[in-house]
């Protein structure tokens, strides 16, 4: 995919991919030579970055309704997975599936979040939004409620508020007043209503808007501010670290004072003052094509089409599966600054047996010592190497 493509065709193509409609496309990860720089114990690297191993993969053979997993969310002792064919819940070693027959708005589940306040599970699907509360599904659609659009790419809970990123704008639902607000290009600095991601932090909402970069909404003042690529639609980042790396953003995540932004052309971070760009050629990023990311504390987990990367901004750990086997590797890159002009880079590739289920990663969630990953070919669970 090239930047020279028009935005609209890009949007359509990528949206289709995200929706899983084109999952038949075979994603061919480029194999790299596995190197082991003499050390097989990766515990040392875990000191600066969490490294996950002991991977266990789940597919339809294990009880998943579909291998096409779009998202994953850890909810205490259970794990919620959104798949192409329903919501899958992993609890006590068993998978249980919920579909439209149970009240799900659509079987294509794209996003899941859990309200810390109430424990209610909010589910974004290809056909509307669900609140799943104590076993009962309540459905919001663009026809029966103020939900902007039935194509709900992302849903998050922020206190009593629920935010959605949809094909028809960002939606804000106040669970106390039960009122909806819609934000589109008509009332927010967006180029068009298509939004892919939304996250909350620091009293703000960060919307990943197609072609609009990042839309920042300050809850207290109800004011918007947009962050777009200073290079416009240029393919290359002319001036490094001058802003978000591209206007077509796919996800945002805020944690520990840092905003992370994914695009199909690299990743950005923003500390409130400075932007920094990350690309596959100058960092440990597995690929510039990023579907989703989630920050947990100082670490961000990045879902790309060529594996799962994670970084704290300096060190990187990328998980990749080998093409022809269930094994793979963890590629660990440490960037240590020796002087102002010299950066020491070390790379180690550590074999993993088994590895993650597939290199096309769409969702991720981490909690305590566990990492769950949603891929095109199943769901993977990794344990922190202590």
């Amino acid at each position: 995919m090239r930047k020279t493509l028009q935005k609209n065709s890009l949007r359509t193509t990528v949206a289709v991919i995200l929706c899983g409609i084109c999952f038949v496309t075979v994603i061919t990860a480029q194999p790299k030579t596995v190197k082991n720089a003499g050390k097989t114990d990766i515990k040392d690297d875990a000191k600066s970055m969490p490294v996950y191993g002991h991977w266990k993969n789940f597919t339809t053979k294990d009880g998943l309704p579909s291998d096409h997993a779009y998202c994953v969310r850890i909810d205490g002792k259970r794990v919620l997975v959104g798949t192409h064919d329903g919501l899958a819940v992993y609890e006590d070693g068993k998978w249980e599936t919920y579909t439209t027959k149970d009240g799900l708005a659509h079987n294509g589940v794209l996003s899941i979040d859990v309200s810390e306040l109430t424990g209610d599970v909010w589910i974004g699907t290809l056909g509307g939004l669900n609140r799943w509360s104590a076993g009962k599904f309540e459905t919001f659609t663009q026809f029966n409620s103020g939900l902007p659009n039935d194509l709900v790419y992302c849903v998050i809970c922020d206190g009593k508020d629920v935010w959605t990123a949809t094909g028809g704008g960002a939606g804000h639902y106040d669970t106390y007043t039960k009122e909806w607000e819609i934000f589109t290009e008509k009332n927010a600095p967006m180029h068009e209503p298509w939004t892919y991601g939304v996250s909350a932090g620091d009293g703000k909402i960060f919307i990943a808007a197609w072609g609009g970069g990042v839309i920042e909404y300050t809850k207290k003042t109800k004011q918007f501010k947009d962050y777009t690529d200073p290079d416009g639609e240029m393919e290359i980042d002319l001036l490094p670290d001058d802003g978000v790396v591209h206007d077509i953003t796919t996800a945002t995540s805020w944690a520990d004072g840092m905003l992370w932004v994914s695009t199909y052309f690299g990743m950005s971070s923003y500390d409130g003052t400075h932007w920094k760009g990350y690309f596959d050629h100058d960092s440990g990023l597995a690929s510039n094509f990023i579907n989703f990311l989630r920050a947990e504390g100082p670490v961000v987990f990045i879902c790309t089409d060529k594996g799962l990367s994670s970084t704290n901004g300096k060190s990187w750990v990328t998980y990749k599966k080998n093409d022809n086997s269930s094994d793979g590797m963890a590629i660990i890159k440490n960037y240590g600054r020796i002087s102002d002009s010299t950066i020491n880079k070390t790379t180690r590739e550590v074999p993993l047996t088994p590895s993650i289920a597939h290199n096309f990663i769409i969702g991720v969630d981490a909690d305590n010592d566990v990492l769950w990953v949603a891929t095109e070919k199943g769901v993977s669970r990794g344990e922190l190497i202590k």
Partner: protein, 674 residues
Amino acid sequence: MKKSRIISVIVFFSVLGLIIYFPGRKWARGHVNYMTAVEDHPLNCLSCHVYTQKSGFISKLVNRKYLSPFNLAVSRDGSRLYVVAQESNALLVVDPETHKVLNKIKVGNLPHSVILSSDGQKAYVSNEWSDNVSVIDLASSKVVDTLNTGDGPAGLSLSADGKFLYVVDSYSSNISIIDLNTGEERKRFNAGNNPTGTELSPDGKTLYVTSRRALIEPYGETLKSELTVVDENTQRIRERRNIESAYMMENVAFTPTGDLAMATMIRPKNLVPSIQVEQGWMMTYGMTIIEQKENGRVIQLLLDEPNAYYSDPFDIVITPNGKKAFISSSGVNTISVVDIDSIRTLFAKSTPEQLANYSNNLGISARYVTKRIKTGAAPKGLALSSDGKLLYVAEQLEDRISVINTESLETVGSIDLGGPRTITVARQGRRLFNNSGHTFQTQFDCYTCHPDMHEDGLVYNMASKDMGRNLTNTQSLRDIGDTPPYKWNGKNQTVYKQDGMRFSTVLTRTEQFNYKDLDALTAYIITGIPYPPNLQYNPNGELTESQLRGKALFERTKDNLGNDILENNRCITCHRPPYYTNLKMAYVKTLAVTDDSMLFDTPHLNNIYASPPYLHDGRAATLEEIWTKYGKEDKHGRVNDMSKNQLNDLVDYLKSLRAPAYENNIPKKLHAKN
């Protein structure tokens, strides 16, 4: 003056009087005939022109401000009753020994419930029309704090440790958890539809919240009402249990051992044609009983008997020994005494099939209802003394508390709360409104389908003589006197006609109201049913930006393309303020093939947010669906040019509509009366 001149004057005035009298009487007769739709209603100007005045001097002259006790609590030592006087916005402190009202503590608007802290030092009163809870220091009889809640706070419960107050928000359908240390609302859950009743289990681990309205479902689906179960430990919803075929689950109580929970309920037969009324069994009343153990069974038992129904069950209390339950049936002025051991026996000795069948068995109540105790008009809240020996009953439309000995099951006293001695015409009308005595076998009363004088959210099959299906979405009666004509087909031009002979023919299936009663009922319906404030969507009259944009859309004359919108296709044309109806019939292309052919009376829209489902047959579950699903041809206003943002704005504006009394800031209209 000469005698002949005097005679001439007398003759002149007599002739003049006769000339005026006969045509005048003829005119009056015609007028009354038109208003009442009968030809023999007495010509009594007072009934229409005095007792139906909503405001002004005459209204003050003929009406009284009643107390209307609704719920109550008893102090642990039994020395005080705390009575919610709903329509005087007060908590009454009563000495049950001397029968004296010791204090009248002003609280918020339309208080609903009262509970006492475990140390007996504080009372909490939910104010349904103020969206808050008054905290009262009982030693000083003063309100010491006011806690903000969701919309329409009703039922109250304290956590086992007394640190949290659970408030059931009846209008916004939430459960608010308030931290009593900070006075702040900690979290708010979604509950069932229009919840009110709540009770904490004896072990302090589980909170039940009952719903009055059923969940919105397409017509033909089995009715379901949610029983919301809160885990008190985690303060999360543990279960949302659908109670099938039931609604108006007003209150719930646990047995002291915690083996059973019992909730009042109505089982309506709204899916069968209304001609069923004359066969009986149209509306049945009873209890939903939930076994409190893993995989516990849920059964429904009726309070009714063959040929006698115990309408509008409201409150339930259980004696400390767990042997008896008392249930108030406000539609028949009765307290039913239920032997709980007999119910336990039913559980133990019945097959699952038998248990399921009991829910429709009118004869089985003889096995557990041991006595019916008559009360004054509209018994509502119940409270037992801590030793369980005395039962106090709030007689809402008597302004009294009756006292019942729970061993002899006799009424042993009556406490006059000091309300007006006079029963006004409208008050009498309200009693009739709340009483099933005018319906065949006391199957129901006006209040049954119009709880809180509003509507019950159900769609009924009002089969006509031609046996059209005529699915009918129950309409609210709030301020209904100002929005004739009545019925969806607009056939009744006045309340007199609506509630007169035809009413008995179609609905009550018994003798029609006599004219004195009809006058009283009409006086009440026209004067005594105000709107609640719209605190959720329009608390102070200042519209939000979205509502203002919606208002502009509501009043627009041109569409988004700049084309003129035909006058009869503009919202504002048919839905004109202050009631947002032009009182005329309209065609909006929603007639179903099973309906009799008709136009529809344009409904009023104030507080429309509180009246789902929508359209004449309730097909639209939400306001949005009126246009997204059923407005495709722009027959119900020009809307199809609107963006989703605009539709949201329009709906936001519609939700903001409230009664003219609030817009005009007329305080005297803000409270229920009569």
